[in-house]
Amino acid sequence: MELSIGFLPLVDACLPILAREHGFAEAEGLSLRLVRDMSWATVLDRLLYGHSDAAHMVAPLAIATTLGRGRPAQPLSVPFVLGLNGNAVTMTPALAALVKPATGLGDARAVGAALAVVAAQRKAAGKPLRFGVVHRYSSHNYMLRYWLAACGVRPDHDVEITTVAPPFCADALEMGEVDAICVGEPWSSVAVERGVGEIVLFSAQIWRRGVEKVLALREPVMEDKRDAVEALIRALRKAGEHFVDPANWEANAAILSRTEYLDSNPLLVHRAISDHMMMTQGGAPVHFPDFMFQHREAANFPWVSQAEWLYTQMTRWDGIAFSAADAAKAARVFRPDVYRSALLGTGEPLPGASSKVEGSLANTTAVSTQQGRMTLESNQFFDGMVFDPLDLPGYLAGLP
């Protein structure tokens, strides 16, 4: 069986790459071809026109494509989440100096409060702060906006938010095109290394368990190639186990950095995969556990509630009215049934439910399972809001 997978050169493309490189795919009778591109638009085009069977994709884009936002609707399916979090908010040193504490990692509320003051000053001076995100339909955009809005900074009113391609994020900070970016690794680290940016906040500080990249396929392709897709899910779980083992970090950083994959500096990639991030040029690395989250707690399980959360943010920021029909379509993009079917009878834990109240856990909690044992750790939003998928309009009404 053969599958081709499109990806962007980002550290969180790790699981398909490692599934191929370490033979996990081969062990499942699967031959993987990886297709590297430089924009999400091209990754999506290749998926829609059959150049690739599956794609590494920003989660909201899979939902936007299904709902026909920005182009004719095409139903996509997500049977596997490639990872949670792993992004950072990186600011010009001048802005960072105004909003972050003198030492150590800032707190999302405190940094947000300081940022609100600067944002108001800059708006009054006629030069509003400008943020860069990697795509309109990216988790980066939604996490950044969630944080700003909860701190009293209104996106598109008090600050501007624009799209910047990941390879140009450091340039954009240096040239003053933007004051801050929200981007995945290794691009924040590239900016830090060049001394043009300082990491101020991790996306995991905004939502401790925020959905990030997904494995997306066209719905008919997933049905046609169901056996191959299920084999891929098993191979990706194995790749995740390998990825999080500290014994493999150095070797995996070297593999991921190769020209045909990220074409990056292995030292920078190693920082991300070991959760040891350098916040400022020449500074001491900060250990932030679960900066990236690719494996534990069934991290790859496509929780329907996460698709629904993304849909609420889409209505919020695209300024479209909530529609129960669209919410249901968005929810169906995530396919826990396929994930379960692929892993049933293996040693992998499978949760009992397919949807959960997001942000409700403050402590480690054991959950009921279909198979194996599972605990979930804190999954809180920094502002303490709770997302109940049974009441989407109620949740939207309660947002600032």
Partner: protein
């Protein structure tokens, strides 16, 4: 019709531009610099935008098309969704096209077809060029290996070449590979150059 070609390869952009010049009633603008891209497109106010699929700025441009009021008319990928074949061909060739709303399909289609042909021609040109470069480099290596054999073993030029050809036939390798081995061995062992 105002056509903007966005490509960070100056060479390819000019190949496309030359191809489109044969169309009547078209004004062509080439943008190769990433900086100020969006502002430049705003100024040009194109009816059609052609951009290579490998360009990292595609997401930036699509965002601009989605939210900007700078262009009078909305612009979207391709003229209509029924034209799947044309879209597939252009994705195959590595070009994305954005067309303003309301532009008639019969005006756009020839343009897209032409762009696709030029993109394909450019890709062929590049692979021919790479092949020619490779052949040239091989030629040089073979000459170098011949000189080494002539000096170290006192052979004539045809005899030196004959030796390499014999070794190639015996080991089932290409003469260029044998020559490469001779040069490498010579460099490692040292000796008169």
């Amino acid at each position: 019709m105002r056509i903007a070609i966005i490509d960070d390869s100056v060479m390819r952009a000019s190949v496309i531009q030359q191809g489109l010049a044969e169309l009547d009633d078209c004004e062509i603008f080439v943008v190769t610099d990433r900086r100020g891209l969006v502002a430049r497109i705003g100024e040009i106010a194109p009816d059609v935008v052609l951009m290579d699929l490998g360009n990292p700025s595609r997401d930036v441009l699509e965002e601009f098309f989605a939210v900007s009021r700078a262009l009078d008319r909305p612009i979207a990928m391709f003229v209509d969704e029924s034209d799947d074949e044309a879209i597939a061909a252009s994705v195959e060739a590595g070009v994305s096209a954005y067309v303003v709303d309301g532009l008639a399909a019969h005006r756009v289609r020839p343009l897209i077809d032409l762009a696709v042909r030029r993109f394909n021609a450019f890709a062929r040109l590049q692979s021919d060029l790479a092949e020619a470069r490779g052949q040239l480099a091989e030629r040089e290596t073979i000459d170098k290996a011949k000189r080494i054999l002539m000096t170290s073993r006192g052979l004539t030029e045809p005899a030196a070449y004959g030796e390499m050809r014999k070794a190639a036939m015996q080991s089932g390798r290409r003469i260029a590979d044998i020559a490469e081995a001779v040069v490498t061995a010579h460099d490692l062992i040292g000796g008169p150059r």
